[in-house]
């Protein structure tokens, strides 16, 4: 707690209030040093004026003053927002201490100093408050810069979202023209083209379809952040059972099976976002299966006090450790477009959807054995209360399969 090395900015103000000049001078002499800015007031009124335009680490109040005394000054300080929490040390003669102490504490006094003043005691007490004030101010500054940073990031994020939204939006019009007129040519004049020309032409059509898909997906991703979160009670069991039912044709095609754990809970979340997450995860679990091995997908969960983790486990090709983060980024994929068609946006959408509900998605995987994608969502007080009130949900074990 030294006085040295402090920047002027770090100085804290201490208010000295006494009607006697010589007392003020004595306080000043004891406390003088580079860390403190001493502000003197010779009456309660003047003290209150000082408190209007400055924050003080502590106010030293003489109890006995003409007009309004120390206690009245303290009472008035407590009525004002700015000085409501300013620590007060009353300075009083030892002879009157007993009556003063109880009255002072009821006014929110933090401490007492008895006359005659012992310099070391005064200095030590004031230092404690000065240090506290300095620390509080530091925390406040940090908080403010953090808030500022958050505001900046949010603004940048919004800019980026509306940028990618309008870009992908505006890209669609020329693409419509390319694909549309190419299609008209291939419908009406295909026979007039040589085989070579037809081949090039088909390439144009194929590429424009692919670009259309990329733009649609990018748009879907950008749209995510632009819509307000709409939380509802969502039964994860019902939601995921429906997704599995919608995938029935693909399950039939692959001989695959999706099994759901009966204890999937009801959460308070955005049904659209939750749908995006599990549609993508379960869809991937079916897509990235091993050749000749029918996909087995199981959806299980762990429920904690204030969180729930849902695991989507498959027996597919697995993901090498070095790629397990990358696949969550936009357009990042590990398989070729010709072997496994896709655009690489699904997991980015899943991750962003989870983040919008303050949750997260991650993967554990062994190449050649399978992958487990986990989704952790916070459970909110409201939904926990509801769940408790309703008792266990009477789910039965159901298996969606081909």
């Amino acid at each position: 707690m030294g006085w040295t090395g402090l920047e002027t900015d770090d100085r804290v103000s201490v208010l000295l209030v006494d009607d006697q000049d010589e007392n003020l001078l004595a306080l000043e002499t004891v406390l003088a040093g580079p860390g403190l800015k001493l502000v003197k007031a010779s009456s309660g009124i003047q003290a209150l004026k000082c408190l209007l335009d400055e924050d003080f680490a502590v106010a030293l109040l003489d109890v006995r003053m003409p007009d309004i005394d120390g206690f009245e000054t303290a009472a008035l300080m407590r009525e004002r927002d700015r000085s409501r929490n300013t620590p007060i040390i009353f300075i009083t003669a030892l002879s009157t201490a007993e009556t003063h102490v109880s009255r002072g504490y009821s006014l929110g006094a933090v401490d007492y100093i008895f006359k005659p003043i012992v310099p070391e005691v005064l200095r030590a007490k004031v230092q404690v408050f000065a240090e506290l004030f300095r620390k509080t101010r530091q925390v406040e500054r940090l908080n403010e810069s953090l808030r500022q940073r958050t505001r900046e990031l949010e603004a940048a994020n919004r800019d980026l979202e509306s940028f990618s939204y309008s870009v992908s939006h505006d890209l669609r019009a020329p693409l419509r023209a390319i694909a549309g007129f190419a299609d008209i040519i291939s419908r009406r004049y295909r026979d007039a083209l040589s085989e070579e020309a037809r081949h090039y032409f088909d390439n144009i059509v194929e590429a424009s379809e692919r670009m259309g898909q990329l733009i649609e997906d990018l748009l879907a991703y950008a749209r995510l952040g632009r819509q307000a979160l709409r939380r509802r009670r969502v039964s994860l069991y019902e939601l995921i059972a429906q997704i599995a039912a919608d995938l029935a044709p693909r399950l039939a095609e692959t001989g695959g099976q999706v099994s759901l754990s009966p204890n999937l809970p009801t959460v308070h979340g955005d049904p659209t976002l939750l749908g995006e997450i599990f549609t993508n995860l379960i869809g991937n679990a079916l897509t990235y299966s091993r050749p000749g091995v029918p996909p087995q997908v199981s959806v299980t969960c762990e429920v904690g006090l204030d969180w729930v983790t849902v695991q989507v486990r498959d027996n597919g090709i697995g993901i090498p450790p070095e790629h397990q983060e990358r696949i969550f980024e936009v357009f990042q994929r590990l398989q070729s477009e010709s072997s496994h068609p896709g655009t690489g946006i699904g997991l980015a959408i899943a991750r962003k959807s989870a983040a919008m509900m303050d949750g997260r998605v991650w993967v554990q995987s062994v190449v050649g054995e399978g992958s487990t994608f986990s989704v952790t969502l916070p459970r909110h007080a409201r939904e926990m209360i509801l769940a408790a009130r309703e008792g266990r949900e009477p789910w039965t074990d159901r298996v969606a399969s081909s």
Binding site: H169, L175, R176, I184, E209, G212
Partner: protein, 147 residues
């Protein structure tokens, strides 16, 4: 219904307009489709314009196909004028736009759009849209009385 099946297409994008005209040409032979390249022209066609006093076509179309993003007078303004002007307010208006955004859909329906379609990405999609619009709005749908 007798007479030509008339549609007013309000579309500023030349390529989209051409694709739509092609698609309607294929699916609605003998039909008549009139193009308004911006919102003002659309309003002039529908509500008349004292200054011009030469309406492009006499009489009202059976259906308006309306893009929302138009230079100058926006599609929403056109929609609002149609739906608040006696004599034309019952005219079915089908919005045909590239935007799927929630706010656009909400406003369009609030202003009285009769249907909201998103522009397809392929010519096959345009053909399907043209066929469906023609089938539903010009064949199945019973037109409102003229006042």
């Amino acid at each position: 219904m007798d007479g030509p099946r008339r549609i007013l297409l309000v579309e500023d994008n030349r390529m989209d307009a051409e694709l739509l005209l092609e698609a309607f040409g294929e699916t609605l032979p003998g039909g008549e489709i009139h193009l308004a390249p911006d919102g003002q022209v659309a309003l002039d066609c529908l509500l008349g314009n004292d200054a011009l006093d030469d309406r492009v076509e006499p009489g009202l179309p059976e259906l308006v196909l309306l893009d929302l993003k138009l230079p100058g007078v926006s599609g929403f303004e056109v929609l609002n004028r149609i739906k608040t002007t006696p004599g034309v307010k019952r005219l079915p208006v089908v919005v045909l736009t590239s935007s799927r955004e929630r706010s656009d859909r909400a406003l369009a329906y609030d202003l009285g759009a009769n249907s909201f379609l998103v522009k397809p990405l392929t010519y096959a999609g345009f053909l399907e849209t043209a066929r469906a619009v023609q089938h539903y709005w010009l064949t199945l749908n019973v037109a409102p009385p003229e006042n």
